[in-house]
C-alpha cells in the first residue's frame, strides 16, 4: 500500500496571537487569555513569554499570577477568534478538501494525493497562514494522524525562545517507531495520568519501552486498549481524516479552553447550543427532523450520535431534550470532554400543521417568536434563559 501523507496544523498560542494582533503592545510580554482569579478562572492560553514562567493552559489563574506576578490577563474575545479561525481554515481548504477540523485552531490534512513532499506543502501552508493572517502556526507531518500530531507537539517543544515556535516537523516514512521511541509515554493519545502511572509501575517510561512488550502482555495489562497502545507505540495508526460533510444542517460546537468533565457545565453548554440551533432554524424558516450530538473526548476520539424526531421541530426545548438524552447515553460521569456540539439536519421548510390540542408546543412557539424578535431588535443578550444567567455574570 502506498504510504499516506498527513499534516497536522496547529495555530501557536492561538488566542494570544489574536490578542497580540488586536493590541500589538502585548507582543513579547507575559500575558494570558483566561478568566480572572477572583472568579476562580483558568488560563486558556498563555503567551510564550508567560510560558517561560511555567504558566500553561488549564492552570488556575490564581496560581498563574503567583508564578508570574507581572502576568497581564486578557479576557477572551470569541467573536474574533472564530473569524480568524475561519480565515485559517479557508487557507487550509485551498490545499486539499480532505480536512478534519479538530477545533478552532487545529486541523488534519490528508495530502496523500498531492505531488509535493509533505515538507514542501507544510512550508507553503505555513507561509500562506503567516502572510495572510499574521498568525504563527506549527505543522507536523507523517504517514498517519497519530505521528503527525506527535511530531507537531515535539517540534513546538523543541523551540525554547519566548516567541511562537512556527515550527515544521516531518517524520519520514519508515521512521515512525524510531521517532517515537525516546518520547515519554504520555505523548501518546489516550495515555492520561492514570495509564502513565500504570505504565511506569511496569517499568515503561518511554514509548520505546512499550514496544519491548508483546501484544499478549499489553492485552493482559490493559485489555483491548493494550493492543492499541502497542500499535501506537510502533507508530501504527489507521484512522482516516474524517471530512465533515456539509450536508444541509445547522450546528453549534464548542471546543473548551480546558477539557471539561463537569456535568453542569456540559449540560449548560448543550442547552445554550440547542437554543442557538433552534434560533438559527427559526430565522431561516426551517424545521429539523434529526438532532445530532457531537462529542470529542480528551484523547481526540470523536463520536456523533443522532436521533430522528417524530415530528420536525425548531423548538429549543425539543432540541435540548434530544441532545441531552443523547449526551447522557454516551457520557459517563467524570469523562473529560474536549468538544461538544449540537446539530440539526434533515431540514425542511415545509409548512407545519399546527396542533389543536398540544398547547404547550404552541405556547413555546409564541414565546420563541417573541424572544427571536427581541433578539433581532436588541441583540442576542437582550433575552436569555435562566440557565445562562450564571454564566453571564462572569
Amino acid at each position: 500500500m502506498k504510504s499516506r501523507k498527513i499534516l497536522h496544523m496547529d495555530l501557536d498560542a492561538f488566542f494570544c496571537s489574536v490578542e497580540e494582533l488586536r493590541d500589538p503592545s502585548l507582543k513579547g510580554k507575559p500575558f494570558a487569555v483566561g478568566g480572572p482569579a477572583e472568579t476562580r478562572g483558568v488560563i486558556s492560553t498563555a503567551s510564550y513569554a508567560a510560558r517561560k514562567f511555567g504558566v500553561h493552559s488549564a492552570m488556575p489563574t490564581g496560581r498563574a499570577l503567583r508564578l508570574c506576578p507581572g502576568l497581564i490577563l486578557v479576557s477572551s474575545f470569541h467573536g474574533q477568534y472564530e473569524e480568524m479561525s475561519k480565515k485559517v481554515m479557508a487557507i487550509v481548504g485551498d490545499f486539499t478538501p480532505l480536512v478534519e477540523t479538530l477545533s478552532i485552531d487545529e486541523a488534519f490534512l490528508d495530502i496523500s494525493d498531492l505531488p509535493e513532499t509533505p515538507l514542501q506543502i507544510a512550508r507553503n501552508l505555513q507561509t500562506r497562514i503567516n502572510d495572510e493572517t499574521k498568525l504563527p502556526c506549527s505543522i507536523g507531518g507523517a504517514t498517519n494522524m497519530l505521528v503527525a500530531k506527535i511530531a507537531n507537539d515535539f517540534g513546538k517543544h523543541q523551540h525554547k525562545e519566548p516567541t511562537p515556535p512556527n515550527a515544521i516537523t516531518i517524520v519520514e516514512p519508515g521512521m515512525e517507531e524510531t521517532f517515537l521511541a525516546p518520547l515519554p509515554v504520555d505523548a501518546l493519545w489516550g495515555v492520561g495520568p492514570k495509564t502513565a502511572e500504570r505504565l511506569i509501575r511496569m517499568g515503561i517510561r518511554t514509548i520505546g519501552d512499550i514496544t519491548r512488550h508483546t501484544e499478549e502482555e499489553m492485552i493482559q495489562h490493559f485489555g483491548r486498549s493494550g493492543k492499541e497502545l502497542l500499535d501506537h507505540a510502533r507508530g501504527i495508526d489507521d484512522r482516516v481524516v474524517q471530512v465533515e460533510h456539509t450536508a444541509k444542517s445547522i450546528s453549534q460546537e464548542t471546543t473548551f479552553d480546558v477539557d471539561i468533565n463537569d456535568r453542569n457545565i456540559l449540560l449548560q453548554t448543550l442547552k445554550r447550543q440547542s437554543s442557538q440551533v433552534g434560533s438559527q432554524l427559526r430565522r431561516q424558516g426551517f424545521t429539523a427532523k434529526t438532532i445530532r450530538l457531537k462529542i470529542r473526548w480528551d484523547n481526540f476520539e470523536t463520536h456523533t450520535r443522532q436521533v430522528s424526531l417524530e415530528s420536525p421541530t425548531n423548538h429549543d426545548s425539543v432540541i435540548m431534550q434530544s441532545a441531552i438524552d443523547l449526551f447522557l447515553r454516551i457520557w459517563s460521569e467524570g469523562r473529560k470532554v474536549r468538544l461538544i456540539g449540537v446539530g440539526a439536519s434533515q431540514l425542511n421548510q415545509e409548512p407545519v400543521q399546527m396542533s389543536l390540542l398540544d398547547t404547550t408546543t404552541q405556547k413555546e412557539d409564541r414565546l420563541l417568536r417573541s424572544v427571536d424578535e427581541l433578539r433581532q431588535k436588541f441583540g442576542n443578550l437582550a433575552v436569555y434563559r435562566g440557565y445562562d444567567i450564571h454564566q453571564k455574570k462572569h
Binding site: P351, Q353, M354, S355, L356, D365
Partner: protein, 378 residues
Amino acid sequence: MTCKVTVQKNTFAESLAIVGRAVGSHTHLPILSNVLLSKDEGQLRLSATDLTLGVTVWLDAHMDGELGLTLPAKTLADVVNSLVEPEVVFSVNGKPEAALKCGAYKGVVKGIEASEFPTIPEFDVSSGISLDANILKEMILNVAFAASVDDSRPVLTGVLINMEGKSLSMVGTDGFRLAICKVDLPVTFAKRQMIVPASTLKEVVRIIGATKASKITLFLPLTGSQVVFRCENVQIVSQLIDGKYPDYQAILPKGYKTRTVIATADLLKACKQASIIAREGSNVVRFHLQPGSDQTGKVKLLAESDETGVSEIELDATVEGQELEIAFNVKFMQDGLEAITAKNVVIEANAHNTPAVIRSTGEEENLYVLMPMHIDGK
C-alpha cells in the same frame, strides 16, 4: 365429535366476509387468523377477534352433531367464494380440519383446535338501547375520520361517545382537526361517557351496510370496559379505550372575525383541484378570504409547489368581516367538506394561526374544527 354441516353458499360467504374484518394479522398469535365455527342453539356461529374487537355472526345451517373448530379465515373464505353450487357441505371428524364438498369440488381445510381460541364474551343485549341504524351510521361517518390513526396517543384513536338525557354525541380528533356530531333521539340514555376505538365504529358502519339493518342495539356491559353492538344476526364486542379524552370544549373557538358562506360542492371541487399540486408538498393550500356581501366576496385557493407548479382557484362567496389568508391541509379540509351534506358550508375563522370552524348552514351542533398550517415568513 363428528358433525356434517349443510349451509347456503352465499350466506356462508357473506358471513365469513363479515367476521373476516375482525381477523387479526398477528403473526405471533396464529389462532387469531382463524375463525371459530361452532353450533349455538341450532345455528352455525362464526366468530373472529383481534383481541380488541370480536365479531360473531349466527346463520342458519343444518348440523347433525356438535361442532367446534377453528379454520384459517382467509383460506376458508377464498375456498367458499370460489364455489359455484348453492349449497356447501362440510364435515368434521374429531380432528381440527373440515372436509368441504360442493358440486364437483372436494377439499380439506386444516385448522386449529377450538380450545385455543380466545373466549369472546357473550351478552344478553335485550336490555340494550335500540337506535336507528342510519342515524348511528351518519354520526360515525361524521366524526370517525377525524380520529387519529397514530397509536402514540391511544385516546385519540377513539371516538368519544357521550350519552345524556336524549342526546347522543360523538367527538373525534387527531389533534389537528376535530369533528363533533350531536343528535337528540327519542330514547333516554343513562348518563355515560366512553371512548370507542374509531376502527370499531368503522366496522359497525360496514356491518350496518352489509346487513341492511334498520335498527342496531347498543349495550354496555357492567364490566365497564366493553361496548356491544348487535345488528340483526351480527354481534360486535369491542374493548373501550381507557384514558382521559382531551377537554375539547376548551378549544372550540368562540366567535369569529371572518365568516364565509360558500357552496359546499364548489369548495370541495376546488379543494380537489388544488390538492393535485399541493399533494407534492405537505398538502398546504392557502385560502384567501376576501370580504363581500351577497356572493360578491371571494375565496381564493392557492397551492404552490417547487416541483409541480401552481394552481389558483377563485370562487364567489359571501364573506363577512376581516380579510384573511389562512393555510390548511387541503386533505383535512376535504374530509370535513365530504362529511357535509348541506348545499352551503360556513367557515368561521379568527386568525391565520387559530382554529377555524367549518359547518353546514343552520347547524350549530355539528362542527368541524380545523387548525391551520403555519407557513414560515408569514
